[in-house]
Assembly symmetry: C2
Homo-oligomer: 396 residues x 2
């Protein structure tokens, strides 16, 4: 457990808000911001007219049994509740419309800050589609990217498994509580993902799969990722929702073409006609995301500068708007051999969440490369490997 | 033989110019225009300093044996030489850069004025590719379009044969003389095309296949057609040249997607990435070409108005710029049952070439539909069949 943990009472208060019927993400975020914490929001809920009646009752008199279960879930190793305002909340997801008020994570939440590529597709994939999902996931993982998907049968499961088999990292965003295994046959896969990546959900523990949860889950998959690759999809596939959301969020959408006689190519063809990039190889995806990485790096650097500055003073200190001096100090701690995040945290005395954010910016900037096993290495100017998101070399 | 024939002497003079070494299409067109006819251009060639020396010698002292062979070719039924300025020269081809100075046709040259869709692709097509070529060619032919291709092995040959098998019309543009069968195994196919369509070439009779002829042939395929569909093509396929030329000529390019593991899908995928329309069905092609037909109809109507007017008076008569009165008279001669072009020529007393042009305009305008066997029928406003290029109904 490397990320910053929420105090138990604050986490329970968050759960009370998140479980309250009819309280939307935007309302919860506003409430917590106004009261300064979830604990305060809950304490003042009885007198808060902005909370609908039923939600107020639920927040003020939470179900004891549910609360005990939540306490139990929060106490397990590797379980995290990450509120919207937390430094651990991934920046790319924060940018989307209707971002979740909080995320539940089972596994290592620092992976949420790694460069992610979503692979999604049909639950009833063909053998060829599954082989393609495995090949692209392997290539993305081997180039240091996290493979993000929805842990569904078919393409999703194949992508997760192949990323893990390649020694990489994978994130599964689920439409249930992270403790509810769905589909059932993915119990072993879920355990592997939890151990070598993260299971992520916006739904509290114990939430069972409901049809309306899955499109909501899809917006998180798209929102966490720099780009979304659709491998095989019918015209009514949920993968098309994920792809549409990714496009609406300004992320890149990639699709594999297929035979005009294959019903599972139709969704991909529709996406290509609608502007998705037709890809034949993983390198095409990685090449395209390098350009996007460059733009995101600018954006993130500005945001992180604001945030670091905001934590220290009311007005941002100009010297942290760019990369100096924290970034320069971090660069002196990196080496040309991969260094683990924990080692860097020790050396830098920086909180792991802040460190992850800074490493992502440096990675998107092409100065640092992600290596296997969540390690980081200085990017060599002369090198031109398949490592991800390296927009330009001269900027260090 | 329905089109207007060139006088034998004028045709021979054209052949002398076309066979002269180093005389380009633009030079020949300028020469003939300046002298008023090919005969006059040849008669004055000795004193014309704009003709290079070798070409001048060839024009003034043509090889007797070649001339006898040319005379023989011209004397055969169904053989036509169509100069650039002729009314039979197809309007769409006239629009392209470096349009041929003349076309040699074996078959019925009035088909050159029909709405054409090009189908091209690899010579080493897969069984699936050949089946797709046949299915699209059949659908295009059944909807009244002429299928145009290059009579090569593979996709080209399959498209021609399927159009003929469906009772439709097909045009083969060849990179040899129309009397040279290439590839050799397409002798029977060439005979069928000649009987139920046309063999077309810019190369004089007897010209054998040279590698440099085929890209030139491809620009004619693209130039005759409203759009070009590529079925299967490797990255080095000549079909990509045809598609590029079609795009440069402002025509629509369509490509069929395929497996990312198929080398013959790569060329199609490249085209799609470069802006070609990904299509799964013939209806998508026909639907897209309806819009293009509407724009072309405007353009052609203007040109034809100019031409009809120019033939009658020095300044265009305003009343023929639109559709009246010649078009209105023609519409009264059409019926809701298909009428052949010859029958319409008899009824209207219009030259067949002018009639073909006017029918194409009306067809592109959605007022007239092409039926099988080169017949024409009034389009019914309520009808919505698969007939081609029907942009709107209210304009009649």
């Amino acid at each position: 457990m490397t990320a910053q943990s929420l105090a138990a009472d604050e986490a329970l208060a968050w759960l009370a808000l998140l479980r309250a019927p009819g309280l939307g993400a935007a309302t919860i975020r506003t409430l917590v911001a106004r009261h300064g914490s979830a604990c305060n929001a809950v304490a003042h809920a009885r007198r808060d007219a902005s909370i609908p009646g039923a939600a107020r009752d639920a927040v003020c008199a939470p179900d004891r049994e549910t609360q005990a279960a939540d306490r139990h879930w929060l106490g397990q190793p590797g379980h995290h509740l990450i509120p919207f305002a937390s430094e651990d909340y991934p920046a790319l997801l924060r940018d989307i419309p209707a971002a979740p008020a909080a995320l539940f994570v089972a596994g290592d939440p620092t992976h949420l800050w790694s460069a992610q590529i979503a692979i999604v597709g049909s639950r009833n994939a063909t053998a060829g589609g599954l082989a393609n999902a495995r090949a692209f996931a392997r290539a993305f993982a081997q180039s240091g990217n996290v493979v993000t998907s929805g842990m569904a049968e078919g393409i999703d499961g194949a992508a997760h498994a192949a990323a893990l088999d390649a020694g990489g990292t994978t994130i599964a965003v689920v439409g249930t509580g992270t403790d509810v295994i769905y589909p059932r046959q993915h119990g072993d896969l879920a355990a592997r993902i939890r151990a070598h990546g993260a299971l992520v959900s916006e739904f509290p523990p114990g939430t069972v799969g409901k049809p309306e949860n899955f499109p909501r889950r899809n917006r998180i998959i798209a929102g966490l990722s720099l780009g979304t690759l659709v491998i095989e999809a019918g015209l009514n596939s949920g993968s098309l929702i994920t792809a549409r959301l990714a496009a609406e969020q300004g992320r890149e959408v990639f699709a594999l073409p297929g035979s005009i006689h294959s019903p599972l190519a139709r969704g991909c063809h529709k996406l290509i006609r609608d502007g998705a990039m037709l890809v034949e190889t993983a390198d095409e995806v990685l090449g395209q995301l390098r350009g996007i990485g460059a733009r995101l790096a600018e954006h993130l650097r500005g945001r992180l500068g604001d945030r670091v500055a905001g934590a220290e003073a009311a007005s941002p200190a100009p010297e942290v708007q760019g990369r100096d001096p924290e970034y320069s100090r971090l660069l002196t701690l990196l080496e040309h051999a991969p260094v683990s995040l924990d080692e860097l945290a020790d050396r830098s005395r920086l909180p792991v969440a802040a460190l992850s954010s800074m490493l992502l910016v440096l990675e998107l900037d092409g100065v640092v490369s992600a290596a296997s096993g969540g390690r980081y290495v200085l990017a060599r100017p002369a090198e031109n490997s398949g490592l991800p998101l390296r927009p330009g070399r001269g900027s260090a």
